[in-house]
């Protein structure tokens, strides 16, 4: 038996072939994403949902109308394209002039709504869809049995990818598209119907995702979750390939599939992480990706996210607000389940920590769950195995957040905007997969039966009043720290950096150092929140480190008001309460939360507290 590095050649070839097949999906999906980003500057998080819609469309066509797979290959992408047209016309168009991160958040909300609805209608279990008989069966190779359908997938994806690349790079239409997106005004002056081209581009991009969905239907589950499982990996492919590069995403998609296949042979546990490791390495060495050209970020005319707030409330109102919150927290346990309140405080602190970064530094971190969850795991471990004092456990969580923050920050800070968000996401995914594999985290089971312990050796935190007091203390101290950081000389410099980074640099400030410091502080407090949560629920689990948790905290902050002190607290309260109150309904919460997300991005970018502040400001201006 021939072996290559200790593995039988047959096994290797088989996995490479499977890798190539997976790569076909990655390539097709990332192609659509790259087209949309390259042309529209939109990070289409809803791409996974479009893929899912394509698969479901094929399923509908077969089960409702008896229309076969072959027709579905054409009809389903068209259906998805129509959905894309509606989305672009009604929502994306409105945020095109803003910071790209709003587009990112908007499509995230859309993904939640679409997937939530389908989950509601069909459950997560997946619908059956048979392989068409013409493509059934397989070829007996010496090293494996190769299903014909999977060969078909590779062929179709190669053809489509090549065709798309040709159209965009080598034809008139493609040239028009490229012109329209490089300089809309000029193109319009030359008679190009730019809005139409933009709509068509988005529709075309998502149609590619829909096609991938049809291809996937017979072999993977036709399930509402099929997109969200893939989308993060596809992002990574696009970023590695070069965010605007069509060729880059195609090549990287196939390459990644093969690399994953090889990793599965030699080091299976790492196969989920390998793309993220590659992504971080590539972004460090070639920031624009393997094939990308860096877009000119210096002249970004749109106001940075978080800069929409006015200078913030003065000390008097801040004191009133703080007192109000503390009073409410003291009174509330009589009316509301205390564990719920404690959960709320933990998430409020988490959101407030996140807000430091986005509201005051202008950086959207999409991996904050890594700090929160790691803090939870370490605190849980410290309590359960080392039997540390609960305060020390929370501090351990804080320290964990800080250290991870330093690591992440050192790697991510050099970039900004969407690249920063993507790096933090990739790094957080690595933390997720490490948490999944590491023995001490208990994998899917989590660390359970975490003892709350005796505070200072005398106060038993099993006693609900004592625990509540402890959590309140952590919350108040955490918020106070954040307040101080924002209202400090350091905080002033941060504000300046956010307002005009180039000017801050020209005044001699090493802005990277300042951003890194803020990042570490933010991560540390997120770790504190996670550690406290672990003690409250006596559990640390994988949910705490998922990207959905990172998305949660973005939503809370956006809804409450980016850049305000009270905003994240209000946002956390609203989101956690909504999730609790709506839990009794049959209707899925994700849909409602996603809808609120969309509404916030489109209409209430200032968030609740921001709108209130604006209203007061207007009142005082009127009365002056």
């Amino acid at each position: 038996m021939v072996t290559i590095f200790g593995v039988p050649a047959a096994a290797l070839y088989g996995q490479l072939l499977v890798g190539l097949i997976n790569g076909s999906f990655y390539a097709l999906l990332s192609l659509g994403l790259a087209v949309i980003f390259g042309m529209l500057n939109v990070i289409n998080v809803a791409h996974g949902a479009m893929y899912m819609l394509g698969a479901f469309a094929a399923w509908f066509l077969l089960h409702m109308f008896g229309i076969s797979y072959w027709w579905a290959l054409g009809l389903a992408p068209i259906a998805v394209a129509l959905v894309g047209v509606v989305i672009e016309r009604t929502t994306l168009r409105r945020v095109a002039h803003l910071d790209h991160l709003y587009g990112f958040l908007l499509t995230l909300g859309l993904a939640m709504v679409i997937e939530g609805l389908f989950r509601y209608w069909y459950g997560s279990s997946g619908q059956p869809y048979a392989i068409p008989s013409a493509l059934a069966g397989g070829i007996k190779l010496p090293f494996m049995f190769l299903p014909i359908y999977r060969v078909w997938v590779v062929v179709v994806s190669l053809v489509v990818c090549l065709a798309t690349w040709l159209v965009i790079e080598r034809t008139h239409i493609g040239a028009h598209l490229r012109a329209a997106t490089e300089n809309a005004v000029l193109s319009q002056a030359f008679g190009l119907n730019v809005p139409l081209l933009v709509t068509l581009t988005y529709a075309g991009g998502v149609a590619l995702a829909g096609l991938a969905g049809v291809l996937a239907a017979p072999i993977y589950q036709v399930s509402p979750l099929m997109g969200s499982n893939l989308i993060i990996v596809v992002f990574a492919v696009v970023v590695v390939g070069g965010m605007g590069s069509i060729l880059g995403s195609i090549v990287t998609g196939y390459l990644l599939g093969i690399v994953e296949g090889m990793t599965r042979v030699y080091y299976p546990e790492a196969s989920s992480i390998v793309i993220f490791v590659i992504m971080v390495v590539v972004l460090m060495l070639r920031p624009a990706g393997l094939f990308g050209r860096e877009k000119d970020s210096a002249a970004n005319a749109s106001p940075p996210i978080g800069a929409t707030q006015a200078t913030g409330m003065d000390d008097k109102w801040a004191a009133i607000g703080a007192l109000g919150v503390v009073a409410a927290l003291i009174a509330a346990p009589a009316l509301v389940y205390p564990v719920f309140l404690m959960k709320l405080m933990c998430f409020a602190l988490f959101a407030a920590a996140f807000n430091l970064l986005i509201g005051f530094v202008g950086l959207l971190s999409f991996g904050h769950a890594a700090f929160f969850g790691s803090g939870a795991y370490i605190a849980a471990y410290a309590a359960k195995v080392w039997h540390l004092d609960p305060l020390l456990c929370v501090l351990a969580g804080t320290a964990t957040g800080a250290v991870l923050g330093l690591l992440f920050g050192a790697l991510a800070i050099r970039r900004s905007g969407i690249y920063f968000a993507m790096i933090t996401l990739a790094l957080a995914q690595m933390v997720y997969f490490i948490a999944l594999q590491a023995p001490f985290t208990g994998g899917e089971d989590g660390i359970q039966d975490v003892p709350r312990g005796m505070l200072f050796g005398v106060l038993d935190l099993q006693h609900p009043v004592a625990m509540y007091g402890f959590v309140m203390a952590v919350f108040v101290v955490g918020m106070a720290v954040l307040w101080r950081v924002v209202r400090s000389p350091f905080g002033q410099v941060l504000k300046a950096i956010r307002e005009n980074e180039a000017r801050a640099i020209s005044l001699g400030y090493d802005v990277q150092r300042f951003k890194l410091k803020a990042f570490v502080i933010s991560a540390a407090l997120a770790g504190a929140a996670g550690g406290t949560k672990a003690l409250v629920f006596q559990l640390a689990s994988l949910t705490d480190v998922t990207w959905q948790m990172s998305g949660d905290v973005v939503l809370m902050t956006l809804m409450g008001g980016i850049g305000t002190m009270l905003g994240p607290v209000v946002g956390a309260a609203v989101v956690v309460s909504l999730e609790n109150a709506l839990a009794g309904l049959e209707f899925p919460i994700t849909v409602l939360i996603g809808a609120i997300f969309i509404a916030c991005v489109l209409l209430f970018r200032r968030g609740i507290v921001g709108e209130v502040q604006q209203w007061f400001a207007r009142l005082s201006r009127v009365s002056n």
């Binding site: 400090s488 005009n500 640099i505 001699g508």
Partner: protein, 270 residues
């Protein structure tokens, strides 16, 4: 390259007191910048004497902004060296260059819009006062900088606007504010990127007066399109075209230079 001795007309103390040739504050040697196949700046040499008010002019696309960005390290040169006040700064990052005393302004006036005028100046003062890094202290400690900040504002005639948000100022006043924040660092040399851009006639007069005032005891290099301002303010002028220096000297010499006239042919000379 002809150098005209105009410094004595403006009363440059450094040059006069020393009695010998005034020191070179900023020296660029063979600075080159290539973007892919396109060469924006080709072996650019520049010598700015200490105390001079030196202008860099040229038609559009000549490479002035590129030169500026290279000198301040906002872009990396493909080739060449930069020596500032006797020190090779070619490898330094832009913030470090600024800390050495070479501070720039921006073509589109760069102020911190959502901060007040006073806060704008204080930001500039914070770093040297050692009040930038502490995140544990209250920002009330910054009031120790207020006196100095107000003095700077008075210098640029903005003392009445201390409490206003920068975004609420007129463009001309924002330019003045930018100048104030630049001076706050007490730089050895200022690089002004088109300081008159976007200003109306009255504002131009005001800014010209300010520049003249702040140039005392300092060196200035400015990129500028407005040739009447250049003739008014500057003692040395370097002319760029297609990334290369085509002439250097006083205004009269430059205006009479055939190559310069050719370069500007078709452009409206002021």
């Amino acid at each position: 390259m002809p150098v005209s001795g105009l410094s004595s007309m403006r009363g440059n103390p450094a040059g006069d007191e020393r009695g010998d040739a005034p020191a070179v504050m900023l020296k660029a040697t063979s600075l080159t910048k290539r973007f892919g196949g396109f060469t924006a700046l080709d072996r650019f040499d520049l010598s700015v004497r200490q105390g001079a008010i030196h202008a860099l002019i040229g038609p559009n696309g000549a490479g002035k902004t590129t030169a500026f960005n290279l000198l301040t390290k906002f872009h990396e040169p493909s080739e060449g060296h930069i020596v500032f006040d006797g020190e090779d700064v070619t490898a330094l990052r832009p913030a470090a260059v600024s800390r050495k005393g070479l501070v720039r302004s921006f073509q589109i006036s760069a102020t911190f819009l959502q901060l007040t005028v006073l806060e704008n100046v204080r930001i500039a003062l914070q770093r040297r006062a050692g009040l930038a890094d502490q995140f544990w202290r209250s920002d009330r400690v910054l009031t120790t900088l207020d006196a100095r900040a107000r003095a700077l504002l008075a210098d640029v005639n903005l003392d009445g606007f201390a409490g206003r948000l920068a975004v609420d100022l007129s463009y001309g006043r924002r330019r003045a504010l930018e100048l104030a924040t630049t001076i706050a660092l007490d730089p050895k040399m200022l690089l002004l990127d088109e300081p008159m851009a976007g200003l109306g006639h009255e504002d131009i007069q005001a800014i010209v007066a300010l520049v003249r005032k702040v140039a005392v005891g300092r060196t200035v290099l400015m990129v500028e399109h407005n040739l009447s301002v250049v003739s008014d303010l500057c003692d040395t002028i370097t002319v760029l075209q297609h990334g290369k220096v085509i002439a250097e000297g006083g205004y009269a010499a430059i205006a009479g230079d055939a190559r310069v006239r050719e370069a500007y042919l078709g452009t409206e000379a002021a």
